[in-house]
């Protein structure tokens, strides 16, 4: 399973090497969005990830300052680089022409940059999306999935 890392995380391999598993990012997170992995895989156990189904990352950017070992960097919102949201237009209310729903647009922390409205109506996720998972969390149709950065890197390497 590829985990959605907190904002400002280094690339996965370096992140794992640097993460000291102290959980300070999780303890600092005001939204309790960061979970310390409780799984049995010794390579990832204790490392933080964002469980956007229970609470997404609202990009408050406090965790980067809490990290003592440099696995998370204090960065600005637009450089959070967690992943990318993918919108399934077939299940989206607005794209389907069912209802004029703008929930994802209203809630996006990078509204207007990461998420724009095509012709003022249809939501489109742009390259500026950092993958915080808010739209996935709020979407009434569950039409959005957040792809973690590592998964993206893998796909890029494959060239697809």
């Amino acid at each position: 399973m590829t985990l959605l890392r907190p904002p400002g995380a280094e690339p996965e391999r370096l992140f794992r090497a640097r993460c000291i598993q102290c959980g300070q990012c999780a303890q600092q997170c005001p939204f309790h969005a960061i979970t310390m992995d409780a799984g049995l895989n010794p390579l990832t156990a204790g490392t933080p990830w964002v469980d956007s189904s229970s609470s997404p990352c609202f990009l408050c950017m406090k965790c980067g300052n809490a990290c003592p070992s440099g696995a998370l960097k204090p960065v600005t919102q637009d450089k959070a680089n967690m992943g990318l949201a993918v919108l399934d237009r077939d299940s989206c209310f607005t794209w389907g022409g069912v209802v004029l729903c703008r929930t994802c647009y209203e809630k996006c922390p990078l509204r207007g940059k990461a998420l724009v409205l095509q012709n003022g109506i249809n939501p489109v996720i742009t390259e500026s999306c950092v993958g915080c998972g808010v739209c996935e969390f709020v979407c009434p149709r569950k039409a959005v999935t957040t792809v973690p950065e590592r998964e993206l890197a893998k796909r890029r390497a494959k060239g697809s």
Partner: protein, 275 residues
């Protein structure tokens, strides 16, 4: 008998540490962030502390030196350099539970502790060295953190308060080890395995002048199986050769307390290396 004996003070500090790490995640959960972290790395109002082995693994694994981590690891190492590995006997939550289990077992079935190995430090240090090399060579995450008992105790508390879930691997290891120690009556983990104490022991070994156990032969009045030997929960012989004690005694002072009711031959004080 005075309440504030050396042992009760030590127990209070140990229990205080164990309770503090129950409270810290709860405080964080309620929005207080003055103190946060676990025993792998702790932040007290901006002062960062770290388990030296965890810091070392992070450094060799990412192959870069972080000043924060170096400073964070230097504090516990300096403490061990000056006072010996008092972290194990005064602060480590696993040490507390292990000692309590050992004491309970001893009360149930008092038996003279049999010392199997005189020292098991070098093989342990070698094993840690090999694992560190593996971590460095393959760029692995800090794997030794997964067998850190103080780390797991604090991670369990973080799991319970922050995620309302228990990390099963850690819980199984923690309580499994405690029950093994209850069955065997030996403090297996602290005495023979704990990788986290290796760096502390190295520090106390290389310290030329530190807080250490001193045995004055001339005051010693006991012969044979003396109370100090039975009192040592690690199964060491406090009257033995200083060389054997050097690497394993964690300055808990239990033997000193017992000895003060006899000849008072055992004392703890700042002293140079005893040859």
């Amino acid at each position: 008998m005075a309440f504030f004996t050396r042992k009760t003070i030590r127990r209070c500090v140990q229990a205080g540490t164990a309770v503090a790490f129950m409270l810290i995640p709860y405080l964080n959960f309620s929005g207080v962030h003055f103190i946060k972290g676990n025993l792998l790395s702790l932040d007290i109002g901006g002062l960062v502390l770290a388990d030296p082995l965890a810091a070392l693994q992070t450094i060799v694994s990412s192959w870069e030196i972080s000043i924060t981590l170096l400073a964070a690891a230097a504090i516990p190492l300096l403490l061990a350099f000056v006072l010996g590995s008092v972290f194990c006997s005064w602060f480590c939550p696993y040490g507390l539970f292990s000692e309590l289990v050992h004491a309970a077992r001893f009360r149930m079935r008092p038996a003279a502790p049999k010392r199997i190995f005189r020292t098991a430090f070098l093989p342990r240090a070698a094993a840690v060295g090999v694992l560190l090399f593996g971590v460095a060579f393959f760029g692995m995450p800090p794997l030794l953190n997964q067998i850190s008992m103080p780390g797991w105790y604090t991670r369990l508390m973080q799991g319970v308060w922050l995620q309302h879930a228990v990390p099963l691997a850690g819980a199984a290891m923690f309580f499994g080890l405690l029950s093994m120690e209850l069955i065997t009556g030996k403090r297996i983990w602290c005495r023979y395995i704990c990788p986290q104490s290796v760096l502390l022991i190295v520090m106390q070994r290389i310290a030329p002048y530190r807080w250490r156990l001193v045995h004055d032969r001339q005051c010693c009045t006991c012969r044979g199986e003396s109370p100090c030997i039975t009192s040592c929960s690690l199964g060491l012989n406090p009257k033995g050769t200083p060389k054997a004690l050097e690497g394993l005694c964690n300055n808990c002072g239990d033997c000193v307390a017992v000895c003060s009711r006899h000849g008072g031959a055992l004392q703890q004080r700042f002293s140079g290396r005893i040859v």
